[in-house]
């Protein structure tokens, strides 16, 4: 990668900060203008249908603030964790021969660490779906 050594990187124009400020102001003005126009020109008709969560979809039932079972969340997280670790193994597999035994040992170590983590989750009841199996 080439180091960027150009001194005036922030501003290609000579006036420097001035242009930056001007640009920022213009952006703000533009956004403000749009919002204003939408507010001014737009027609407002309040109706029950319109204020639904899904305006033209499934009719919601009950409140959104219900309790999710925690195990679901935990399993999702664990899956994500081990899934991401798997990516390393794929990368290693591609250059398996180049890395040789050193790489193999390193990957074994990595997997052992993962397995210990898995064992920990297991022993502590992280994978139990039911409430009754809470650890001591």
């Amino acid at each position: 990668m080439e180091p960027i050594t150009d001194g005036a990187m922030l501003s290609p124009w000579e006036p420097g900060v001035f242009s930056l400020v001007l640009f920022g102001l213009l952006v703000l003005a533009f956004i403000g203008f749009q919002l204003f126009i939408a507010h001014w020109v737009g027609e407002r008709k309040e109706s029950r249908e319109k204020s639904r969560v899904y305006e033209s979809g499934v009719i919601p039932t009950g409140t959104a603030r219900l309790q999710f079972p925690v195990p679901f969340y935990m399993v999702a997280i664990f899956f994500l964790l081990f899934d991401v670790e798997g990516v390393f193994i794929f990368a290693w597999a591609v250059v398996f021969r180049d890395l040789g035994w050193t790489g193999w040992f390193q990957m074994v170590f990595f997997i052992i660490v993962l397995l210990v983590g898995l064992a920990y989750i297991w022993v502590k009841g992280g994978l139990d779906w039911r409430e009754s199996h809470r650890p001591k």
Binding site: G7, G16, V17, R65
Partner: protein
């Protein structure tokens, strides 16, 4: 066997003189706190040994002209080396003797004064700690070492003032004293570092030699001198940091006698004398010192004129006398200042110890009440008090007369007659307030009618066995100090010889130049005494001073020239109500609010969001980010000069 050298003997004596109190402190703190008599004995023994050693040193080195320095490398910081050791020269030896003597006497006195106090052992432990710190301060060979012990002295004074912790105000006073002197010390440390950076060596001899003038530009030298003088101002309670001393008087009276008159506050003046050649390199700084000394002297004298609390009168008087010494020193009268330091230590300790007897007997500090209670019946303390007040007022043949004359002579040589005039005014005021107290105590209005018996509900304390038994420990220190006060003045010649050496008198003898001066001063003191007598002493006197007839002046003086109000205003408005409130509010709203928000409910998602809202964490994070970016932008444009 190595032959025993005279040098080694001196070395050993010095170590003995400084370290025995520390040993006593440690022993008391570690082992003997439960046994009162043993603790007191240890402390007394230690300080007695110290005193003996200092006398030995004084006698041994009386004729040695060159200062002796024993030092070893202590810290090597960066490229400079900081020595640690002892510096023995006339000033330090003289001061050492004063300190150990007063410490010894006060500790003996305390045997009676503090008898029966629950913290008796602790009191003696702190006394020993103080003695160690003070002796080490006096003998320090480098300024940094001096600073460390200077702080230790402040610390032990904090502990000693706050000693009576049943009294709430005593602790407040302790805090005030500590913080105010610290403000001065910070300035001292800054000055010290400034000197260190330029001279590269904080050894006192090094600083005092004329080389330091070459090493520092004169502007910096003046600045450093002023900064170091800030420490003196704090410690010696000079203007504008003068208000802590009267408040510090709430501790036990012996402590006031020891710390706040004779030794600790005098350390400031001692430092001045110690660095006198260094300070003298900067005439500008000396001029400012002269000014500050004068202002403190006059302000404190006026405050003393209206105070009713006997200890406060002496506290103000201490400030004013210290100011007087600083005037003398700043005017170039090296010997005069040190001499007054010596005599003042004696008579001011005497004043406090006498007052202590009264306070101990009648349990009040108010001079009018004490007078009514019949203070005049305690013969020996009264005689001692008269001697001490005479010395304070500058009456011959007491020691104060001689030293005051010396300072006035130095002032007469100073650049402007206004200093001399101020000095003379001070003499008058001093004599007036000293004898005001004396007259009130000795000639209560009802003196003829009711010489005995309880007056105004104030009975003398029950003459129990405790008081009878302790009276001897009260009386002997008084007698010794009174004799000292009587005799010390006649040692002016030898002392001058000792301090200044044969030929190199820093100041020309004053006798021929201002022959009228002693008489004028004497006349002014007598006038002050006379005025006090006329207003308070004589039969049928109005018992109202001329100051109190003028409401404006009375208010001004008794409210300490509104200095405290100013500090209060500053601390209250700006620190307490300003910053602290701001932070307290911030805490209440942001932090406590969020704790409540969390603890109200369990960890539902909605609650969680509510907590985030009330914690406003995202705004704070935004602020952090903005600060970082703004900082980098600012410095980028400043650095590259593009904007």
């Amino acid at each position: 066997m190595i032959p025993f050298q005279a040098e080694d003997a001196i070395h050993m004596t010095v170590i003995l003189a400084t370290l025995t109190p520390l040993v006593a402190f440690l022993l008391i703190m570690l082992g003997t706190r439960a046994r009162k008599n043993l603790s007191a004995g240890l402390s007394l023994g230690a300080i007695a040994i110290s005193f003996g050693c200092s006398l030995l040193l004084l006698a041994r080195l009386w004729n040695v002209r060159e200062p002796l320095e024993y030092s070893t490398r202590w810290v090597a910081l960066n490229r400079m080396e900081i020595p640690f050791g002892f510096l023995l020269d006339p000033v330090s030896l003289l001061m050492l003797s004063i300190v150990t003597l007063i410490c010894l006497l006060v500790q003996v006195y305390s045997l009676g004064y503090m008898a029966g106090d629950p913290g008796f052992s602790r009191y003696y432990a702190f006394m020993s700690l103080f003695a160690w710190a003070m002796t080490s301060l006096v003998l320090s060979s480098s300024l940094l070492q001096l600073f460390i012990f200077w702080e230790l002295v402040g610390l032990s004074s904090y502990l000693l003032i706050g000693f009576w912790y049943e009294k709430f105000s005593a602790t407040q006073a302790g805090k005030k004293a500590f913080v105010m002197t610290r403000a001065g010390d910070v300035s001292f440390l800054l000055g010290l570092i400034l000197v260190l950076v330029h001279v590269g060596n904080p050894a006192i001899l090094e600083m005092n030699s004329l080389d330091s003038a070459g090493l520092m530009p004169s502007g910096i030298l003046t600045f450093a001198a002023l900064l170091i003088f800030g420490g003196i101002v704090g410690k010696s309670a000079q203007f504008p940091l003068m208000t802590w001393l009267p408040d510090a008087m709430e501790g036990p009276t012996p402590v006031s006698a020891l710390l706040h008159s004779a030794t600790m506050v005098a350390a400031g003046v001692y430092l001045f004398a110690r660095l006198f050649p260094f300070f003298a390199l900067s005439p500008t700084a000396m001029g400012i010192f002269l000014f500050i000394g004068t202002v403190s002297m006059i302000l404190a004298s006026t405050m003393a004129m209206v105070a009713r609390d006997i200890k406060q009168v002496w506290a103000y008087s201490t400030i004013s006398q210290l100011g007087f010494m600083i005037m003398g020193l700043a005017a170039g009268g090296y010997f005069a200042g040190v001499f007054h330091l010596t005599t003042h230590a004696g008579f001011k300790a005497l004043l406090f110890l006498c007052s202590g007897v009264f306070i101990h007997t009648w349990h009040t500090n108010d001079i009018f009440e004490l007078g009514k209670g019949g203070a005049r019946r305690l013969k020996i303390p009264v005689i001692a008090l008269v001697v001490a007040a005479g010395a304070l007022a500058g009456l011959p043949p007491f020691s104060g007369f001689f030293s005051k004359e010396a300072i006035l002579a130095a002032l007469a040589l100073s650049s402007h007659p206004v200093w001399l005039a101020a000095g003379l005014l001070g003499v008058f005021l001093t004599a007036y307030y000293a004898f005001r107290v004396l007259c009130i105590l000795l000639f209560p209005p009802s003196a003829g009618e009711e010489p005995s018996g309880p007056v105004g509900g104030l009975a003398p304390a029950p003459k129990g066995s405790r008081q009878e038994g302790s009276s001897r420990t009260f009386i002997w220190p008084l007698i010794i100090l009174a004799f000292l006060t009587l005799l010390l003045g006649f040692f002016q010649g030898p002392l001058q010889h000792f301090l200044l050496g044969e030929g190199k008198a820093l100041l020309v003898d004053h006798g021929e130049q201002a022959g009228w001066l002693p008489f004028t001063a004497l006349f002014l003191s007598l006038a002050g005494v006379g005025l006090a007598w006329a207003e308070f002493g004589r039969c049928g006197a109005a018992r109202l001073s001329f100051v109190e007839r003028i409401p404006f002046l009375r208010e001004l003086f008794s409210r300490r020239w509104y200095l405290d109000h100013f500090y209060h205003f500053f601390v209250d408005r700006i620190v307490d109500r300003g910053f602290s409130k701001l932070f307290a509010q911030n805490d209440n709203r942001v932090i406590d609010g969020s704790i409540e928000a969390v603890s109200r409910g369990t960890l539902e998602a909605g609650r969680f969001l509510a907590f985030l809202q009330s914690g406003m964490i995202q705004y704070r994070l935004l602020v952090s980010f903005a600060v970082m970016v703004l900082l980098s932008l600012y410095f980028f444009y400043r650095d590259s000069g593009g904007f």
